[in-house]
Subunit: 412 residues, 2 copies
């Protein structure tokens, strides 16, 4: 006999983190398993943003750069993210998009390893990471090598030509989690620098960038950090590199004295030199407000709950969906699985559309992946049961075969 | 006898554009002459943004990328800007910051002129433009030359080594307006490409990028376009370059098929290849809503009003402030003056602080410039009188000498 709904509800009742769900506005009738694509809205955002628009911009106008503290907003948001990713507040800044920050830091990292001509990444990395690495390689006269995705294969490719090892912490399709400390140590042993994209782990895994001795990192503000659509991204530079790091997007806000409007660029001390142009204040202040949802939250406890949710989901799928042709595309071992469970199915697109029509929102990744993001701040154990039951219902009724679910269109 | 306030009020009463002021929320008791730094809030923005946050993000969640049309927002905002700057809707996109777009387009332009090794700019360009040009030169192995600022001196520096002539349309300090058609033609005659930063002219001057045969342009969303603090910027690529242009920030959103998550980067057709990462939706949709303030507005009429306002302001200053030591730092001839009037004064910082304390908001640029942005959509002829009278009052009372106005701090 499989796990019952009642047993799942009991798990929620004894869950010490269950109250965190109240920090979010979640629509009625929706089970939201797409926080790895766009996190839901933390409760304090609407009032904060109303104030920003009507009072700070509308009334304060230009004066709000100082009087409302807009100018310090990147630092304030960064300090909150720093705690979440295990870094010092002086090692993180918020700016631009993940892709733009990746460009900055790949160039900066390569400049610290002159004479080495390889940017090493792994298959399974998010495509934008590979596109940016290819572009950096072209512009600096380097080449990219793609190894892996297994850690041993990546380590085998580390040699004296590698300037930078650039990896995604979590495979966005399968949810496979890379061993950050081990791969970073291997990069260092080969004389290379390690750059991690933690877009799919920040906010759900106790990352510990400092503890893992990482050199550089980038990450996304709108996935598990719930900062709102297209929220600004963040960049991390280990303190030991602060004096030497030189990034190429030398906009005025990264200048040592931005308001002196000097003719020559002098980079700001420390992490502020990662800034480029004026940040999008509405989106940035929404992110800052959203990060309050993490106040007092222990990332280790979040990670444990995420693992328990994923393990339960996989057990339910095993029990209930056995004959329906679903394959587990994620690692079964939660220690090497990020905060998502992916299933492979030949009808993945239509099944996901049918699920969304029932208010259970995950997403589809071509060609055949159903992706379920498991955000432990608001996903319940009973949600795992209900999602599995819905999939079983869709398969039993042949619902995925309805014409309205069959034609793919753009989804993010 | 000088111009009276009554005469100024009469000018407002006969001004065919006076009603446009109602499209903005302007705080009581403020005369806002800093729209060249941060435009005020168009009336429709708060309701739009409330809907975006509470309904589109809060309720729609990830589905809003399609259902609420977020994915097309850069194109929609770009189409509105295109009309304002005299371009085709397919030649403009909205993305990132001005500095980031400048990096993209300087690299892209230089790649179209292989074998030429000079990026030519002008003294008086906005500092960030020079910093970015220096960085692009370093990364591509080129060099920067700074000529001018007079057009004849810039033209004299155009030779067969120049790959790109990159200029600001309006000098951010003095308001001097560069002759766009003439300098673009000179660049082309020398075999170079012309890139213009129209941050300080978009929304107040009938720019006509297509008519001037410009190759590339960038511009700011939050100055005279009133898009809100740190609003996304825009980029322009003349249609004739669309097939060949290759920019280096090859993020996933500029891919021909962003949602295919392919391993290799294939640039989108046309202007969309200027996109990089996910745009900051709250800031982007605020900009889109703000641009509705330009609905039905004739840029040529706006420009005429801007010139008339500036001419009046200069006349009033001549009449009223003669003995107070102010120098006109802007061109007297409105045909070579952008939409601002700058005054030089040894006590510029303190005088501006005293003005701001009286609710007349301009800004200060080191070392000695008082800058007044004249946005013809909401600035009135009587405002020019009241601002002049306030300066005269401050000087007569020695108000600038009060200690609270004397210590410089960061201003944007």
């Amino acid at each position: 006999m499989g796990t019952t709904r009642q047993e799942c509800v009991a798990l929620d009742q004894s869950d010490g983190l269950a109250a965190l769900r109240q920090r979010f506005m979640l629509p009625e009738g929706v089970i939201y398993l797409d926080g790895n694509s766009l996190g839901p809205m933390p409760r304090q955002v609407p009032a904060r943003l109303r104030h920003v628009v009507e009072n700070e911009w509308g009334e304060g106008l230009i004066r709000s750069w100082n009087d409302a503290g807009w100018i310090d907003a990147p630092r304030r948001a960064a300090a909150r993210i720093a705690r979440i990713v295990g870094a010092g507040a002086d090692e993180v800044t918020v700016a631009d998009s993940t892709s733009v920050n990746l460009f900055k830091l790949l160039v900066a990292a390569a400049r610290l390893r002159p004479g080495r001509n390889v940017l090493l990444s792994a298959s399974g990395d998010f495509p934008t990471d590979r596109y940016i690495a290819d572009s950096v390689a072209e512009i600096l006269g380097l080449r990219t090598i793609c190894a892996g995705p297994e850690p041993d294969a990546i380590i085998a490719a580390l040699d004296e030509h590698v300037a930078v090892l650039a990896l995604c912490h979590v495979d966005y399709r399968t949810g496979r989690l890379n061993p950050m400390s081990r791969l970073t140590a291997a990069a260092h042993a080969a004389g290379a620098l390690a750059l991690w994209d933690v877009s799919h782990s920040a906010g759900v895994i106790d990352i510990g960038l400092d503890a893992a001795d990482v050199d550089f990192a980038v990450g996304c503000g709108y996935k598990y950090l719930n900062g709102g659509p297209g929220a600004p991204a963040f960049g991390y530079v280990a303190r030991r590199h602060h004096q030497l790091v030189r990034q190429p997007l030398t906009g005025w806000l990264g200048h040592a004295q931005p308001f002196a409007f000097a003719n020559d660029y002098v980079p700001a001390a420390g992490i502020d030199r990662l800034q480029c142009g004026t940040p999008p204040i509405m989106s940035l202040l929404a992110l800052e407000a959203a990060l309050e949802a993490f106040d007092g939250v222990d990332l280790t406890a979040l990670r444990r709950k995420s693992q328990a949710l994923g393990d339960l989901f996989i057990r339910l799928i095993d029990d209930e969906l056995g004959p329906c042709g679903f394959g587990l595309a994620s690692p079964r071992d939660s220690d090497v699985r990020g905060s998502q469970v992916s299933l492979a199915h030949p009808r993945a697109y239509a099944v996901m559309q049918a699920l969304i029509a029932r208010g259970i929102i995950g997403d589809f990744r071509a060609p055949d992946i159903l992706r379920f993001g498991i955000a432990p701040m608001y996903v319940r154990f009973a949600d795992m049961f209900d999602a599995t039951a819905a999939i079983a219902g869709i398969m039993a009724a042949g619902e995925w075969n309805q014409s309205r679910f069959l034609s793919p269109k753009a989804v993010t």
